[in-house]
Symmetry: C2
Subunit: 357 residues, 2 copies
Amino acid sequence: MIHAVVMAGGKGTRFWPLSRESRPKQVLPVVGGKTMIQETVERLSGLVPPERTYVVTGASHADEIRAQLPEIPPRNVIVEPAGRNTAPCIALSAAIIKKIDPDGVMAVFPSDHVISKQDALYKAMDAVMEGIDKDRSALGVIGIKPHYPETGYGYIKTSATLGGPAVKAEEFLEKPDLATAERYVQSGNYYWNAGMFFWRADVILDEIGKSQPGTTTAVLKLAEAFGTARFDSLMAQTYPSLASISIDYAVMERAGAEGRVIAAVADPGWSDVGSWRSLYDLVEPDSEGNRARGKLIAVDSTGAFAHNDKRLVAVVGLNDVIVIETDDAILVCHKDRAQDVRQVTEKLKERGLTGYL
Amino acid sequence: MIHAVVMAGGKGTRFWPLSRESRPKQVLPVVGGKTMIQETVERLSGLVPPERTYVVTGASHADEIRAQLPEIPPRNVIVEPAGRNTAPCIALSAAIIKKIDPDGVMAVFPSDHVISKQDALYKAMDAVMEGIDKDRSALGVIGIKPHYPETGYGYIKTSATLGGPAVKAEEFLEKPDLATAERYVQSGNYYWNAGMFFWRADVILDEIGKSQPGTTTAVLKLAEAFGTARFDSLMAQTYPSLASISIDYAVMERAGAEGRVIAAVADPGWSDVGSWRSLYDLVEPDSEGNRARGKLIAVDSTGAFAHNDKRLVAVVGLNDVIVIETDDAILVCHKDRAQDVRQVTEKLKERGLTGYL
C-alpha cells in the first residue's frame, strides 16, 4: 500500500510579513483560499487515504496543522522536538510505516510547494510507482522540466530513458551558479529536484542505515513506541541527537551514482514558492499587468503584486512593486529584491522588534 | 478686539487614504499628535480667547470639530449648508463679528496648514495689526518667503517697504506655470499667499459688498439671527444661493491694485500641506534618509516616507516611496507622483468602491 509523508518543518522567513516564526508558509493560504498544507494533502487524497497520510512538523505548529487537517488522525501528525533536516524525518516515517505495513511504499512530499497541473504530477507518479513495482529496490523522484536557469534549486542529471516519463537519474546536484544553471537548462538532461520521493519504506530505511546507522537504530525504537504514551518522551530524548542531514546528501547522491534512482520527468506547474517573487510569477496578471489577491487600484503602475486579504492597496507611479499587508506589518518591495526580505527579519532582530518575527 | 475665524471647509482628497469625504485633512492628526484644526486653534489661543474664535465648516464635520475643540462655544462653530468658497464665509463671519463688536478686527486662518515657526508668524501678525491700527481701512495679509518655485500656490507681488516686515502688496497672482514661478522667486518681490487675512469686520464687509452686494445683504440678515433658533433654517434657505467666489477674486485683486493691502512678509515654516509630498518635505529624515511616523525598516532603500500609526512598514530595494496605511487601505506612491493620488479616488468612484472614499 502507498503511504504519504508530508514534510512540514519549513520556516519560510522569506515570506515575511505573512509568514512568522509561529506561522510558517505551509500553514498559510499563500495561494488560493486553503493553506499550503491543506492543498498538499488534498492533492494526495485521491492517492492515499487520510489514515495512511503522515505529517512531520515542529512542536510549535503541530496543533495548528492538526486543526487544519481534521481528517488526518492526530497521532499521524508527528512532532519533531527539533528539526534535523530531511534524512531523520524520512527515516522515522519509514520505520513507522514499515512497522504498520512491511511492504509499504512511501510517497514523500514537501508541504509548501505549488503544483498547478495535478494531472501531470499524477502521471509522473504513476510512472515512478510502476518502476518501484518492477524493481523493489529502486528509489524514485520527480524531475521537473526547468523553464529558466534557476539558481535556487537543486538539479537532477538524467541519462537513459526507461520508457514513458521515466528516466535514469544519475547525479544529484546542489544549487548551481547562473552559468552552470544555464548550461543545465540548455543541455536538456537536467531537471529541477522538487524534493518529492517514492520508495519502499524498508528499502529507504536500509539506505539511510548505510550512512547513518545511528539514525536507523533510533527510529526503529521510536517506531515501536509510536502510538503509545512513551512516544513523545522517547522522541524528546533521542530525536534531537540524530545527525542533521538531508536525504539528498545521506542517500540520493550515492544511490544516483549507483544507478538505482528512477526520475519521472514532468512539467506540472511546480514551484517551491521560495519567495514573494516566485509567488508573483504564479499569479496571472490583469490587463494592466498587475496582480492582486484583494482589491488593487493602480495609477500609472504596472507589474504590481498585492497580497492583501483585508485592505485595499493603491499603487501610484511605481512599477514592479510587491505589497504585502498583514494585521501588524506592511512590506513594500521591488519584485527583483524579494530574496532580501530576509534582511528585514534580520533588522527586526537587531532592533529588538521581535514581536514582528 | 481681535476675533479669529478659522476656515475649515476643505475636502483634502489628495490625502487619501488618510483623509476621506467624511474625515477631511483638518480633522486628522497629519503632523504630530493633534489634529490640524486643533493645532491651528492652539496656535491662535495666545492671541484670541475661545469665545472670540469662530470656525466655519460643512455640516458633515461640525460635530467632529465641536468635539475636537471643546473650549470653543458650540455656536461659534458655524455650519455652511453648502460650501460657497471663501468670500461668503468671510462675509458671514464679518457680519457676525461686527454685530457683536462694531470695531472688531478679524484674523482669518485656514484650518489645515502647518506653521513650524510660530514666533515668526506672531511677529508678522503684529506688524499687520499695527498697520490696521494706523489705517483702519487697510487689508492685511501674510506673505510667505518662497523657498522654491512652487506652482501650486498663489503669489503676492509686493513693492514699497512700510517698515519692519510690512510691505505694500500690489498684485494677487494665481498659480503660475514653472517659468513664471521661477521668475517670481528670483525677483525677490513675490511671496506665497498663505490665505491668512487681517482686517476690520466692517471694512471687509463693505469691500465684499462692492462686488457682491447680494452676499452682504444676506449675511447681515444671518448675523441678526446668529445665536437664535432661526439661524440654522435661515442659513439653509439663503446661504446655498450666495455666489461661490474666493476672497482673492472678490476683493484682494482689486484692493491690491488700489494700494490698500499691507503684507507682512515672513518665513514661518509654512506649508499648506497640499499633498503627501508636502508633508514628506516637512518631516526630518533619519540617518538613512528615511522618514516615518511609526516603525519603519528600510533595506537598501532611501527617501522612504511612511505615515503609519499602527503597522510596521518595511521597504526593500525601493527609493523615494511613500507608504500610507489606514485601517482599510494602503497607498504606495512614488514621492514625485503625490499629486496623482487624486486619480486613486477617481478610480475608486469608477469601480464603485465608494466605501473607500
